[in-house]
Subunit: 355 residues, 4 copies
């Protein structure tokens, strides 16, 4: 039985991690860390856990924690994990960091977009970017995994096969993303009050959202070159779910008979199948079916699909996931499973909730 | 492995049954019955099941089904189960009927409130009312279980200990219930369109809702006399969840020292604990905590609590559950577990989803 | 042109007052008071007012304000109006207080339920309770109007004719109320975050909500005796709207022919018509039609109706209004109109918004 | 007093037209046409109008109607207006058609995208595209106005100044649009049920939505050349509101000093101001403020703004409106005002509703 500690167990992502690990047959939570609720019953902070979790919130002492557990999850604000991680910890336990601290390889880029100093740049290199479907083998051997962001997981997986196969002009990529409100966290802010979010939709962080460089870096690896792209997040009046709609110009393909032209549905589809056919958690939908966030709610699935627009020569790619599961806690568990040699889908094999 | 067939698998309750049985270790679904979608892929009707359920919808031939399965669930409109059930079926399989057909012992009451003729009154007597926490032993031996209604499960469990113990005057009981919209089913009706339900709340079926006689009958058994009460359902702009707020006058209690008076918090609490302390799925909340539907969403839990109003001599009881789980499919699985001698909570041991 | 000042113009009720007064032909706002946003552009706090309101938020100096306006609206937290009102102010301007400070005649009751000391009890007696349909003539001559609470307006108007006419046993009155979230105000609290309110319903303030004594006092005047009753508010995932469902035992009526019995539909209806037939803003719906909050959204209407349950001898009364309009700002404008001798419906003659 | 008849008064757009015309000082509705509800009380179909509208629904006989009114609004499904309009009608009354029948000048394009035969192509040429801010003078003299679509109004107004001034490369224009559910109409369809839309977001009509050619045609006039572009609509769980997020590559500008470069914030802003500074209903927001649908709800305003992304050389333009007001009924009233020589904003001068 793997002993797990969670630093930041009282945020929405941390709480989802609790929910998922409670259903995991080979892991148990032994430490519910929280900055704001120390010594309070966890079930008083998340009443869904009444009579299910009978523990108090602990502080966030990573060193103490490292002596008691096999894996530490940090579901904390940016900068926090980097400020407390150290060699001693990493020598004792595996760490899955759900914050952005170890996602971006270039510390200067991190510091520019996040506006904070990185306190542990020495661990950036060894950290593995935990997008399981793409970096599976590296994750298996990692002791520090940077769990991808919610928007980034959805944005990357939706476009990855086409970027990797050179079927789209990656320089034309535009990502229009829509997220439920749990992505904004549980902090008490006027802008996240029910009456401000409900019956409303808006863009925010336009041309400046922090997930942009993360997407650019990862898709840049796939493209084999540096990329800049547009990423625009929107806030949607729903609790969970991210939908991305991505636009790019198709590259012409050269065919066996010497002809060239825009790729066909079948050619695009083959690229998706090449990468995802054996992936349990990425579902390439049937032709004509658009992903909807509701169809993946509460689950670790990502649904993707695409439409070719021959009039404009562009492709519209779409992807949907649950930001708290595949976009955060579910992927963290998937990473843990890989790191400990468990079945990758252990604890994640449940169907989406509908309606 | 128990083989299960579902008649009415494409309604919301049927779909939830599919979701739950997919996660059940000792049962498998072998028949997805549907009147409206015969021969269509189940996963085209409920896309959350894409790549999870790979079956087509079958017709609703109960006789054919009875030869292939161990248990049949009917999640069908009122009157349908009664019209197709017969001795041959009951001699081969166990039946859990999620409709109202076998819930009410007095066929005249059924026919009056439902406005239809009952086609199989001969099975009413043997049918066991499947409110597990109350009729557990009877359910174990049943071949036909009448799965309780969503409103009724919540209404009854919230008041049951106090009615049973005579702590309230059952003739003063008033139940004000609030339900999410999945209770209205998946039929295409103007009144259930998003724009009609959203940003709206209304009462409906006032003094005439069909769950009234079911609540009266069951609480009447607890009271040891016939009851009439007020039950008013309301439609709330949310997908899942039922909250009931129940009002009744407290009876005076006579104490060991000869004094009489309104029962204290501790005396009421003791009554709840007497019936629910060992019940996994009924959670009596801490003093001062009001049940919220969100805290039980997606789970089989019922949260109950109460407040004594000394000014008026009344008690306000509250209960919350997920209408599709404990109010329908979850309770059906719980009944199945009891009927087949499985662990009662098998397939239902997951925490509520939040947020 | 009446000059109006608003103290507390940046809360939801204050902002609604701004919206309504902007559409009022005989009033203009000259002071947008706000404790939290002094010197900020009002349109930066409420962006719907961009290019419509071109004023900065002022402080909340009632004395300075009294020299500049004809009427002051206080849409402030409990206790604030009482702490700043004085003879000088009342000698210069008329005041409509949207807080609870002058609603309750017995200062001890106020201090007990609100838990604060009343700073100006000397004005309580002269303050007129501004429920226009009931106290119209008194409002016309008032210089200080206590604008009723949102729940109370709805609760009182729904039951008033039957209490007044003695058709129900007022001691059996139970009020189950449901409110949209704007009633909780614009303060940044975790419990009012979108993800906490959405897909959720709960009771709160059970047997202790501060609107209880206000309802009891006013319905007590109608009944001609002191009343205690149960009032239970619930939080509903919608922005606007209050629905009340009220239960009471019917009194028998003695008819001309000497017979006695429960009142008929027509007799109850006649009582409603007696009080509301000529009231523009109270709509007694057709038989069988239940009030819905959506049908009054954005307007000053209250929709009421009732169902007699002969089985239990009780009547179920229902009422719906928009908590920010008839439940707050709209009624405040209606009071202002009466106080200044304007047409009572001036500035309020628009239809509800649907959907 | 202008006498108005509405054909299709029982759809959501028709009902909004009723709401707006009721508040219009110089118009009155004399005919509530409806295919589905003939002879029913209008207030039974839209209960917000109880005691406000006391008329029955009439049939949709345009010829009879033309003898009784000055203006006919057709808020009907595609193809209907074209099938009933004729010379006699147009000789007697002015017509504002809220359907798409006369929006597209090329009948072949109309018939291809809408999949139906156009029954009155002879009136297409004279029909004026009623986007008031752009075609104001033509609208004034028109007898047949094609009222623009909801998505198109928002899409066009958001990009118009930059296309017209050549500041963006119109061939790179990508429009990602998000709409509330009232845009889907009041027809009873499973996909529009509350439980299917709530907690969900999806794209639909990808690369095939019928508003695409309308946007292309109108922006093509501004660009002075034929355009093709990508338009992707999404369904958002809210009643009202459209938000568009538009992406395009900036053209370099040549400056007075001979230098060239991407346009600055000020240069882009100047273009918007050139076209919208004197427009009451188009609000160019302050720098850094993103449009939100909630800030225009219930009103005729369109809020627009933009962000320049120097990294990619693209601009992100955003626009928000209420699909039932500026996107349908409000614009229809604005057109009527122009056609009859009234003040353009008559009946539309109210502030947005918040929250």
């Amino acid at each position: 039985m793997i002993k797990a500690g969670i630093i930041g167990a009282t945020g929405y992502a941390g709480a989802e991690l609790v929910r998922l690990l409670l259903g995991h047959k080979e892991a148990e939570i032994v430490w519910y860390g929280s900055q704001s609720y120390v010594n309070q019953n966890y079930a008083d902070v998340y009443r869904n856990m009444f009579q299910i979790v009978d523990e108090k919130c602990m502080g966030e002492d990573m060193d103490a924690l490292a002596d008691q557990v096999d894996v530490i999850f940090t579901a904390t604000p940016q900068g926090y994990c980097a400020s407390i991680i150290n060699d001693a910890v990493l020598s004792k336990v595996k760490v899955v960091d759900l914050s952005a601290d170890f996602r971006i390889k270039d510390v200067a880029v991190y510091e520019k977009w996040y506006g904070i100093e990185h306190k542990s740049p020495q661990y950036i290199e060894e950290a593995v970017y935990g997008l399981c479907e793409i970096n599976r083998e590296d994750v298996k051997g990692a002791r520090l995994v940077a769990n991808p962001g919610c928007y980034t997981t959805c944005s990357i997986l939706t476009a990855y096969p086409l970027v990797k196969e050179g079927l789209i002009d990656a320089d034309t990529l535009i990502i229009d993303a829509k997220s439920g409100t749990s992505g904004a966290g549980r902090g008490a802010k006027v802008q996240n009050l029910f009456c401000e979010v409900n019956e409303n939709i808006k863009a925010y962080g336009v041309a400046s959202h922090r997930h942009t460089p993360e997407i650019e870096e990862q898709l840049g690896y796939a493209a084999g070159k540096e990329l800049v792209l547009n990423f625009t997040p929107h806030l949607v009046p729903m609790n969970r779910g991210i939908l991305v709609t991505e636009y790019a110009s198709l590259n012409k393909v050269k065919r066996a008979d010497g002809s060239t032209g825009l790729p066909s549905y079948e050619e695009i589809r083959a690229a998706y199948d090449k990468y995802y056919e054996r992936e349990k958690f990425v579902r390439v939908l049937d032709k004509g079916v658009c992903p909807e966030t509701k169809w993946v709610e509460g689950s670790n699935y990502v649904d993707v699909n695409f439409v070719i627009d021959e009039r404009t020569g562009r492709i519209i790619m779409m992807g949907a996931l649950d930001n708290l599961v595949k976009g955060a806690a579910g992927q963290a568990v998937q990473n843990m499973n890989l790191m400990f040699g468990l079945k990758e889908s252990e604890g994640l094999e449940f169907a989406p909730l509908f309606p």
